[in-house]
Symmetry: D5
C-alpha cells in the first residue's frame, strides 16, 4: 500500500461518512491544514493517530504503518501546477515572489522564512463584496548563518 492509496481510501471513507477535514482535525486535536496535508501524503501521523484513523474510518489494518512513514514529499505532477485553484498560489509567487523576498530582507536581513518550522491556515473572511479566502503562511525566520 502506498501513501496515495491510503489517502484515497481515507477520502472515500470521509465522503461516505460525510466527514470533513475539519472534523478529522477536531478528533485528532491537530490543525486542519496539517491534517489535510498529512492525509494527502505530506506528513507522517503518530502511531496513536494512525490507529485512531484506522479505527474511525475502518481502514485496512496495514494502513497504519503506511500512515506513520516519513514521506517523500511533493504533491504536484509537474513543476507548474495546472489546477486553477493551486495555480493561483503559483501565480502569486510569479507576481509577488521577489517583492516578498525584498520585504523579508528589508525587515529581517538576509535569510528565509522556514518552510519546515512552519504552519499555515485558511480562513473565510466575510466581506459584503464577496467573501474572501485568507491564507496565512507563518514560518520561523532563519538568518543566513555560517555556523
Amino acid at each position: 500500500m502506498t501513501k496515495r492509496e491510503v489517502g484515497d481510501a481515507i477520502e472515500a471513507a470521509m465522503q461516505e461518512r460525510k466527514l470533513t477535514f475539519a472534523d478529522l482535525a477536531e478528533r485528532l486535536g491537530r490543525p486542519r491544514v496539517w491534517v489535510a496535508a498529512a492525509v494527502l501524503g505530506q506528513h507522517p501521523f503518530t502511531p496513536h493517530e494512525a490507529k485512531q484513523l484506522v479505527a474511525m474510518l475502518d481502514l485496512a489494518p496495514e494502513a497504519a504503518a503506511v500512515l506513520e512513514q516519513i514521506p517523500t514529499r511533493g504533491a504536484l505532477d509537474g513543476p507548474v501546477p495546472v489546477d486553477p485553484t493551486i495555480y493561483r498560489l503559483y501565480e502569486v509567487i510569479l507576481v509577488y515572489g521577489p517583492a516578498l523576498k525584498a520585504l523579508i530582507h528589508e525587515e529581517f536581513g538576509d535569510g528565509i522564512m522556514s518552510a519546515i518550522n512552519f504552519r499555515a491556515d485558511v480562513e473565510r473572511v466575510p466581506d459584503p463584496a464577496g467573501d474572501r479566502v485568507r491564507i496565512t503562511l507563518d514560518g520561523k525566520f532563519l538568518p543566513y548563518q555560517w555556523g
Copy 2:
C-alpha cells in the same frame, strides 16, 4: 527604457538615500507589498505616483511613462525559483498546495482564491524561539460560475 531598468534605477536611488520600501509606501500612501511589487515591474503606478517617484528619487523624466505602463507580468527567470527565499514559497505549494485546495473547497465549494482581487502582507511576529515571518495572502473567493 524598460520596467527592469527603471526598477534598477529606483533600487539604486533607494540604497543611496537609505530609503526602504516601507518609506516609499508611506510617502505614496500604498501598502508595502504593492509598492515593492510595482517597483519590481509587476504593477503600473498612477501618473501622479509616477511623477512623485521621479521627483523623489531624481529619476530620468522618461521613467514616468514607463512606470505607468501596464506590465507584462511574471518576475522569475524559470518555472522553478532558484533563490532560496523565493523557493521556500514554492515548496509550500509543493507540500501544502493540494491541502489548501481541499480546504478551500471544503469551506467555500468549487472555486478559487483570486490572485487579481488580492492583497498580501508580510509581518514580523516576535517569538522567543526566534521571530517569525507571517505572510498573509488574501483574495476574493471566486466560485466557478458559468455566467
Copy 3:
C-alpha cells in the same frame, strides 16, 4: 474509480446509445460546453445530475460519487497540446495572446478576463466559402484591485 474512468464509461455509453453531448446537455438543462467539460472531468455534477446520468446511461452506482467530486483540473498531457484540433487554440494564444491582452487593457484598464466566472460556446456559422467554427469565450472582467 477515477474521473477519467467514469468519463470513458459515459462516452462509451453515449456511443452505444447514439447520444451526443447536445442531447445530454438538453436532458440536464445545462450548456453543451459545460456538459462536455464535466464529462471530461473538469467540473463536478450536482448530486441530482449525477444520479440522472447514472440512470440514463446505466453507469455503475459508485460513479455518482465520483461525478460529484470537485476535480483536480487540467485536461492535457503536457504543456503544449499535440492534438491538431486543440493545438490551433494554443496557436491562437501564441500569435494573438499579446494582442488580446493589449486590447483588454485598452478597453478595461489593468486586469484579466476571468476563467472562473466564465462561459464558452461553440457554434457553426454557415458560410458559402465553407462553414466556420465560432468559439465565444466570455468571462467577467476582473480589475487588479488590492482589496
Copy 4:
C-alpha cells in the same frame, strides 16, 4: 531593425500621441485585433499601410520595410504564458480544450478550426454584476481531407 524594435517604437509613439489600437485600426481600415497583432510583430502590413504608419507616427523611414516583412510568428517567451491576462487564455485550453474538440467533432465531424483563415474580436459586454470580456474566435472549419 527588428519587428520588435519597430513595434516598441510604434507603442511609444502611440503613448506620446494618446493614440489607441482602436484609433490605428480606424485610420488603417483594419480590425483592431489584427492591427494590435501586426504591431506586435505577428502580421505583415501592406506597403501602403506601412507607409501610412511611418508617416502617422513619424517612424524611421527604414521601419516601412520591416513592417512589410512576413514575420516568424510566435509572441510568447516560453511554452506556458506567465502573464496573468494571457495565462487565463491558456487555462481555458487546459480546462475546456478537450471539450471544445469534442463539440467541434460532434458538430462538424473530424477536422479543425483554422487559425489561418481566422479572425478574432474582443468586446466589452456591460453586465450589472460587472462588465464582461467577450472574445470571439472565428475560423473556417477544415475537415481532414486526404486530397
Copy 5:
C-alpha cells in the same frame, strides 16, 4: 480498448498473416500512408472499413467502435523523436524548416501548407548509387485571411 491496443492487435494479426500495410491499403481502397496512420491511431476508419478490418483480421468485435472514433492525435512520446528513422524527419525541419518557410512565402505569399487538407506518400526511387526514399508532403496552401 484503446486505439493503441487495437493498433497492436492489427499489427500482430498482420504479422501472422504476412500482410503489409500495402495489402491493407489495397483491400480498403485507401492510400498506404493514410492506412498506416489510421492503424497507428491517427485517423478514424469509416464504419464500413472498421467492419472490414475486424472481419479480415479476426479482431475482437468491440474493436470496430474504437476504430471509428475520432482520435486524440499525436503519435510520439516526447517533443523530440528519439527513433533514428523518425528523427531524420525532425532534423529536416531543424535544418531546412526556415528555408521551406521562406520559399513558401516567396511563391505563395503569407500563409501555410495545410496539414489537414493534406496527403503524403512514400516511394522507392531506384538509383544506381543506392535506392532513395522519396517522401511527398502535399497540402493545400492556406493564405492568412482575416475572414
Copy 6:
C-alpha cells in the same frame, strides 16, 4: 561577423534589389531550397559562390569567409517550432511520423532516409480547389549495416 548577421545582410540586400531566392538560385546554378538554407546559415557556400554573392549583393568583404564556413547547424529556437508555417511540418511528424517509419521499413527493411545525402524541393501545384504546396523530401536509403 556571424552566419546570422551575414544572412540578415543578404536578405536585406535581396529586399532592396527585389531579388528572390529563386533569382539567387539561378545565378548560382544551385537548387532553391539549398540556396535558401545556405543563406539562412545551414550550408557552406563554395569560395567561388561566396565571392559571387559578395559582389552581386555588395556585402562586406569579410562576409565571404563567413559564408564558406561549415556551420553549426540547427535553425530553430526551441525543440517545438512556434511559427505556424514551420509548425505544420512538425505536426506532420507528430501525426504521420510513425506511419512513414512503418512504410519505409515495409518497403526497404530496417534503416532510415538519409538527411545528409538528401535534397528537398517546394513546388506550387495548381488546383481548382485552391493551389497546393508540394514538398518533396528525397534522401538515400541507408540500411542498418554493422560495418
Copy 7:
C-alpha cells in the same frame, strides 16, 4: 509481449545459465555490442537468430516474433542519462562534441559520421596504472550531398 519484456527474460535466462553477452555473440556469430544492443531492444534479430535464442534460452515461443520486429529505437528514459556509466559518454559529447565535429570537418569536409552504417566495440586495454576501457565508434563518413 514487448521488446523490453523479452529482453528482461533473456537477461534472466543468461544470469541463470551463467551466460554472458560474449557467449551469446559467439554462438550467434555476431559482434558483442550488436548482440547486447539487440537484446536491449535496439536491433531486430533475423528469424534464424530469433529461433536460436528461443531454443538456447528456453524462451516463450511467441518471443521469436518480437525479436524479429524492427524496433522503435531509443533506450534512455530522458534526454540526459542519469546512470553514471552512461552519463560519462554524454559528458564526452558535452566536452568534446564540438572538437570532434571540428576535426571531422578538417579531415573530411562537410558531413557526418553515420550512426546507421556504423559499428562499435568495447575493449579492455591492460595498463599498469589501471586497465582502460577503449570504446571504438566506427561509422561511414557521409558528405553533405544534395543528390
Copy 8:
C-alpha cells in the same frame, strides 16, 4: 575577454593563415582532439602554450591569461545537440548506451569509463565502400570503490 571570444579569435586567425588544428597540435606537441577542445574552451593551456599561441596567431596579449584559466566546461547550448554531426554521437548513446554499459560491466565489473583520465582520437579509415570515421574513446576504468 571570455574563453569563447578568444576561441573565435583563434579560429579566425587559423582561417586567415590556413592553419588546421592538426598544425596547431603539431606545433604545441599535443594531440589534435585535446587542442581542438582546448581552443573551443574545454581545457586550460599551460602558460607556455598560451604564450606560444598568442605569438603564433598574433592574439591580443590579454588572451594568454584567458587561455590559462580552468574553464567552466560544457560546449553545447541545450541538453540535446541539434547539429547533425554532433547529434549522431548523441544518437549512438540513445541506441547503444545501455549495451556499452552492459559490456563494460560484463568485462570489468561495476564501474565506469572515466571521462577525466581520458583521451579521444579521430581517424580516417580508408574503405572502398566509402572512407570511415573512427572515433576512439579511451578512459581508465574506475571501479565503484567505497574508499
Copy 9:
C-alpha cells in the same frame, strides 16, 4: 522482480522487525550510507550479502539475484528533487557549487572529486543551539589527464 520491489520488501521487513539501516550495516559489516543506497537500488550486494539479507529478512528467494545485479543508477524522479530533505542538498549545489569548484581547482588544479571512488557519511553533531547534520563527501581527486 525489480530492484525497487525488492527494496520496498526490505523496508517493509525492517519496519516490521524494528531494524534500522544502522543495524543492517552492522550485520553486513558495511558502512551505513552504502547499505541504505544499496537497499534503495543504487549498489549491487555481493552474493554472500544478498543471501544474508534474504535469510535475515525472510525475503523471497529470487530476491537474491536481483540484489546482486549491477543497477541502472539514478534515484530521483526528475532533474530537480521535490522532497525538501533532498532539495536542500540540491540547493547547496545551486548556491555553493561554483565555489566548491573554484576551491577544488585552487587546491588541486584542474580535475574533479570522483563520485565513483567515493564514500559518504552522515553524522549527528550535538550542538547546544540545536544538533547538526554533518554530511561528509569524500572522493579521490582525479586530475584531467589525457592518458
Copy 10:
C-alpha cells in the same frame, strides 16, 4: 554594475596579484567556502568587508554597494549542471540523495538539514593511492514543527 561583473573584476584582480580565495579568506577573517561563494555572488559582504575588498583589489568604488546587496541566489545556468566538477556533486544526489534522506530520518526523525544555518568546507586529504577531496556539509537539523 551587477554582482557578476564585480565578481569577474575580483577574479581578474586576484589572478593579476596571484591571490587565492584562501588569501582573501585569511585577510577578511572568513572561511574559504564562504568567501568564494560571496565573490561568486551568493552572499552579501558587510560594508566593512566590501571596503576592504575594494581597497585591496583596487576595484571601482561603486563595487562596494554591489558587494553589500543581498543577492538573488542561484549560480547555475540550468537545472542540471554541465561542468564535470560540479556535475559530480549532482550525481551524488542522484545516487545517494534518498539514502542520505533515509539516514537523516533514522537518526533525527522527520526534518531536514538546513542549507541556511549551514557551513561547508573543502579539504585535501593525503592518501598514498591518490589524494582525496573531502567536502563537509554541516547544517542545523530542523525538525518538521507546526509552530
